[in-house]
């Protein structure tokens, strides 16, 4: 397995407050990595470092190196728009544009300058299929995305991120606002997607992390406490803090 993204000694400051302490973590292509930990532990802060979403936070400062295929994403010459095309993101709440289903997925392609309508239609269908949504919406592609259910909207957002063919997909609690059936659909689509893609997912659901991830990283108080294969983390974690958190003995 090749390493797609690599964080070396990454720290994040909000003003004088050090929110993340010297994190070292690598993400392999074709694998899903779950970031877990209590609220405020730094996992979402770390996730946002991976496509420079922290640039948008006033007073935020990132130290250390994050490499995407060997290139430092924090280098001054980095084209942030290009970075975010290669490192897509799906957020906690579904956020479709008030456009048709088709146009939601086509949006990124048009922004990136694609004009061939046949090619766009092909990419839209592929992205919707990979997000396990196409069969449910193929007869109403030009209806408003706002008429979809919550779970369908979230898969639409996944399709929208996939349309521009990213190498890495970041997911920040993508199923936390969904019912169990919609959650299952999203989880299934994540597992379908991982081939050829690097997926990093923040989740508060231990069961979800155990179900869908290949690797798990446990964060606590801004530090990476333990990282390893999900099978190992959820059966015999090495660190007591990890054991206490995943078995609900924290606090």
């Amino acid at each position: 397995m090749s390493i797609t993204m690599k964080a070396r000694d990454v720290s994040v400051f909000y003003g004088d407050h050090k929110a993340l302490h010297n994190v070292n973590l690598s993400f392999e292509s074709g694998k899903v990595t779950a970031l877990i930990g209590p609220s405020g532990c730094g996992k979402s802060t770390f996730l946002r470092c991976l496509n420079r979403m922290n640039d948008l936070v006033p007073g935020a400062r990132v130290e250390g190196v994050i490499e995407l295929d060997g290139e430092n994403i924090n280098a001054p010459a980095t084209n942030v728009a290009s970075l975010r095309r290669r490192v897509g993101m799906v957020f906690q709440k579904p956020n479709p544009f008030p456009k048709s289903i088709f146009e939601n997925v086509a949006y990124g392609l048009r922004v990136n300058g694609m004009k061939d309508e046949n090619a766009i239609a092909e990419r839209v269908e592929t992205a919707l299929t990979r997000a396990a949504l196409f069969n449910e919406v193929k007869d109403r592609l030009h209806s408003s995305a706002m008429g979809l259910s919550g779970g369908q909207q979230q898969r639409l957002c996944i399709a929208r991120a996939l349309a521009v063919e990213p190498e890495v997909l970041l997911m920040d609690e993508p199923a936390s606002a969904l019912d169990p059936i919609a959650t299952r659909h999203v989880e299934e689509s994540v597992m379908e997607l991982k081939s050829g893609l690097t997926i990093v997912i923040v989740t508060h659901s231990m069961q979800q992390a155990a179900r869908i991830s290949d690797e798990t990283a446990f964060f606590y108080m801004g530090k990476l406490i333990e990282h390893g294969e999900t099978d190992v983390i959820f059966t015999r974690p090495a660190q007591k803090q990890t054991e206490d958190y995943i078995t609900g003995r924290f606090g």
Partner: protein, 228 residues
């Protein structure tokens, strides 16, 4: 004092599972002790009580199985909690069988009641009973104290049990003397040998329980370690 935990809180459910396992350990231990006393004292009433008491151990097995299912369904345990539930599901099988072996020994005591058994053979049976009982006590202590090292020290118990069984079966086998006559009652010898089989199983199942205690603590199998 009344517990402040609600009955079905995660911690309470796991604590209940542990408590019920300890109760099952105690019942299996008492059944063994009573069957041993029935054997030593040729006490038919005690032997009958052991047989009747086996139903309690069977009920505990069902109860603990059910509790494990509820814990899995409701808590979806991971890490140490998961290993504990998996080990519990395995240990109840061994404990239930140890109860069965105690009942089986009691049955043999009843069948031996009218038969003559040589004092030397009875001494050998008592010795092996003490060894099997000690292995069970060690496994129970290891579980109660969550002591993986104590559990590990039982890893040779299977071999010990096998060797003791072979030696005792050879000693109990009715053999013709120089005059060609077989001393002792062959029926008594058969019952004594079946008691030896039961004691071997108790001893080996105690080793199984110890393996589960080790697994609970370390998530590793002693059995595989032995194979290597």
């Amino acid at each position: 004092m009344e517990s402040i935990l609600c009955e079905d809180s995660p911690r309470q459910m796991l604590a209940t599972l542990r408590t019920r396992l300890l109760v099952m350990f105690a019942h299996a231990g008492i059944a063994l002790d009573e069957s041993g006393k029935a054997l030593s004292q040729d006490d038919a009433a005690r032997a009958l009580a052991v047989q009747e008491g086996d139903a309690v151990i069977d009920e505990l097995e069902n109860e603990i199985d059910e509790l494990c299912l509820r814990v899995m369904a409701r808590l979806q345990p991971v890490a140490g909690d998961l290993r504990f539930v998996v080990a519990a599901l395995r240990m109840v099988v061994d404990l239930e069988r140890i109860g069965d072996e105690a009942a089986s020994i009691a049955e043999r005591v009843l069948l031996l009641h009218e038969l003559p058994i040589k004092e030397e053979d009875m001494r050998r049976l008592r010795e092996m009973f003490a060894q099997a009982r000690a292995a069970f006590a060690q496994a129970a202590d290891a579980f109660r104290e969550e002591d993986a090292e104590a559990a590990r020290s039982l890893r040779a118990a299977e071999d010990d049990a096998m060797q003791a069984e072979v030696a005792l079966l050879q000693a109990l086998m009715p053999m013709p003397g120089e005059d060609g006559r077989v001393s002792g009652d062959p029926r008594a010898a058969i019952h004594a040998m079946l008691i030896v089989r039961s004691l071997t199983r108790v001893w080996r199942r105690s080793a199984n329980i110890a393996e589960q205690v080790y697994f609970m603590r370390h998530g590793a199998s002693l059995k595989h370690e032995l194979v290597r």
